[in-house]
Amino acid sequence: MCLAIPGKIKSIESMYNGTVQMAKVLFGGITKEASLEMVPDAKVGDYVLVHVGVAISKVNEDEAQKIFGYLREAGELDELIG
C-alpha cells in the first residue's frame, strides 16, 4: 500500500491556470502522470519517487551511490551501475 517507485520525469505541464504542475514520469517502459505539487523544484530528467499519482520525493543521486562503496574494492561495481 505504501508502494512508491522511482521514475524519470519526461515532461512537465501546467494545469488549473498554472496552479498545478503535472509530470509525465517514465517507469521502465511505462509512462504515468504524477502531480509535482510536493516536489516543486523537480525538473525534466530528475528521478522522483511516485506514490498513488503524487511525486513525494526526489531521488538524491549522491546518497544513492553510497551503497556501491561496499563493492568498490571487490571490483564488482562497473557492471552494476553501467
Binding site: M38, V54, A74, L80
Partner: protein
C-alpha cells in the same frame, strides 16, 4: 542508474548477509513495521537467508488490513444505498466487510471504481456533477498527502459532489503501543521508509530515547532491507540505541515540508481504531472542521453498528509481533486469502497473507524463521 534494480543486486545481498552473520552473537527480535517491507522480505525469500539468531516479526503496517470492518460496511452502504460513485484503491476492494466486500457490491451493480490515484476521483466528480463521488481514503502518512490533495483540488474547483471516507493510520503511535505492551518481545525496529519520506525523523527520536529502542529507517528492496537489518544488529550487539537512516536516497531529516503542510492544512490527528488491535490514541487523521463538507461520514450521516471479529483469530498478537502467522490454529485451514478470518490475511501485505502466498517458497525454513 534506475534506482531500482541495483538494489536487488545478488552481490550486495550477499555482502550484507555476510555482515549480519559476522556481527550477530545473540538472538534478537526485530520488527519491520511496514507491510510493504513484510511483503518484500517474504517474497524475496530473505527470511530464509537470515541467520537463526535474527528473528523478524511483522508489524501492523498494512492500512488495508487494519481498516475496521465497520468502515468497509460503510463504504458498501454508500455505494449500494446512497448510490454514490465509490472510488477506492484496488487493495481495498476484495476485503470482506461483515456481510460483503466492495467487489461483491460491484457485482450486484453498485458503481464502484478502482483507481490508481485519489486525484482521478476528483476528475470523476467534475465529470459527473449530478452524482456524489466518495473516495475511500485509506493509508498511512505516505498516502495522506495524496488524499489531502484530492480535497484541495476539489475545493479549488468548487466541487460540491466530492467527499472522502477516511481511514488514516499513523505509524509512531502504533510503535509505542507495541513497545508498551506487557508481552512485547521486539528489541529493534526497521522504520517505514516511505512514511519517513513524508514525515521526516523528528517523531522517532523520542521513541528511541524513551524505550532505548534502536531504529533504522529502511527502504523496500532486498539490499535495503538487509542493510537495514545489518545496521540494526550492529547497534543491538553494541548495546546502542540510535536512529539511523539507511534510506537516505529519498528520506531527509525533515521529511517533505510541502507534503507535511498539505497534511496539516487538511487533517488533524485523532484517536483511531485499528482492526485486530483496538483503539490507539492519536493514531489517525480526520478532516479538519474547515473541510467537513468533504467528510463522507458527516455528509451522509452513516450509522452502522460495529461488527464482531472472529474469536479464533489471533490478529492482535500477530500484528504486535508476539506470534507468527503459522502459530495461529486457523492459518491456512479456515483462514485463507480468499476467506480471511482476520486483518493480516486480507491483503498480500498482511503478515498472514504474505506467509500464505509464498509458503511454497521454502516453506519449512520460512516457518522456522
Amino acid at each position: 542508474m534506475k534506482y531500482l534494480s541495483e538494489y536487488r543486486s545478488p552481490e550486495l545481498v550477499d555482502y550484507f548477509l555476510k555482515e549480519i552473520k559476522r556481527t550477530v552473537t545473540k538472538p534478537w527480535v526485530i520488527m519491520e513495521v511496514c507491510g510493504g517491507q513484510t511483503h518484500s522480505l517474504v517474497k524475496n525469500g530473505l527470511l530464509t537467508m537470515l541467520p537463526e539468531q535474527v528473528r523478524m516479526v511483522h508489524g501492523p503496517g498494512c492500512p488495508v488490513c487494519v481498516t475496521p470492518l465497520n468502515l468497509i460496511d460503510k463504504a458498501v452502504f454508500l455505494a449500494e444505498e446512497k448510490k454514490v460513485i465509490l472510488c477506492s484503491f484496488g487493495d481495498m476492494i476484495r476485503v470482506p466487510g461483515s456481510k460483503k466486500s466492495l467487489l461483491d457490491a460491484k457485482a450486484n451493480g453498485a458503481d464502484i471504481r478502482i483507481l490508481y490515484s485519489p486525484l482521478e476521483a476528483v476528475k470523476i466528480a467534475s465529470e459527473n456533477p449530478d452524482k456524489e463521488v466518495v473516495f475511500f481514503a485509506v493509508g498511512f502518512e505516505t498516502t495522506a498527502p495524496a488524499n489531502a490533495l484530492s480535497v484541495i483540488h476539489a475545493k479549488r474547483q468548487g466541487l460540491k459532489n466530492y467527499s472522502i471516507l477516511t481511514s488514516h493510520v499513523l505509524v509512531p503511535p502504533a510503535m509505542e503501543a507495541i513497545v508498551n505492551d506487557d508481552e512485547n518481545i521486539v528489541r529493534g525496529f526497521l522504520a517505514a521508509g516511505h512514511v519517513c519520506t513524508i514525515m521526516g525523523l523528528s517523531e522517532y527520536y523520542p521513541i528511541v530515547e524513551k524505550y532505548k529502542m534502536p531504529m533504522v529507517v529502511t527502504g523496500f528492496e532486498p539490499v535495503d532491507l538487509l542493510q537495514g537489518i545489518s545496521m540494526l544488529v550492529s547497534q543491538l550487539e553494541k548495546g546502542e540505541f540510535k536512529l539511523e537512516n539507511q534510506y537516505s536516497r529519498v528520506v531527509e531529516e525533515e521529511g517533505n515540508p510541502a507534503a507535511r503542510k498539505v497534511i496539516n492544512d487538511v487533517f488533524e490527528s485523532s484517536d483511531r481504531e485499528w482492526r485486530g488491535i483496538g483503539t490507539i490514541p492519536g493514531s489517525g487523521f480526520e478532516l479538519r472542521e474547515d473541510f467537513s463538507e468533504y467528510d463522507a461520514n458527516k455528509k451522509f450521516q452513516v450509522n452502522i453498528a460495529k461488527a464482531e471479529e472472529n474469536k479464533d483469530c489471533i490478529a492482535g498478537q500477530v500484528l504486535r509481533g508476539q506470534k507468527k502467522p503459522h502459530e495461529c490454529s486457523q492459518f491456512g485451514k479456515r483462514c485463507t486469502p480468499s476467506n480471511p478470518l482476520g486483518a493480516p490475511m486480507v491483503s498480500s501485505e498482511g503478515a498472514c497473507a504474505a506467509y500464505y502466498h509464498y509458503s511454497n517458497v521454502g516453506q519449512n525454513e520460512l516457518l522456522n524463521a
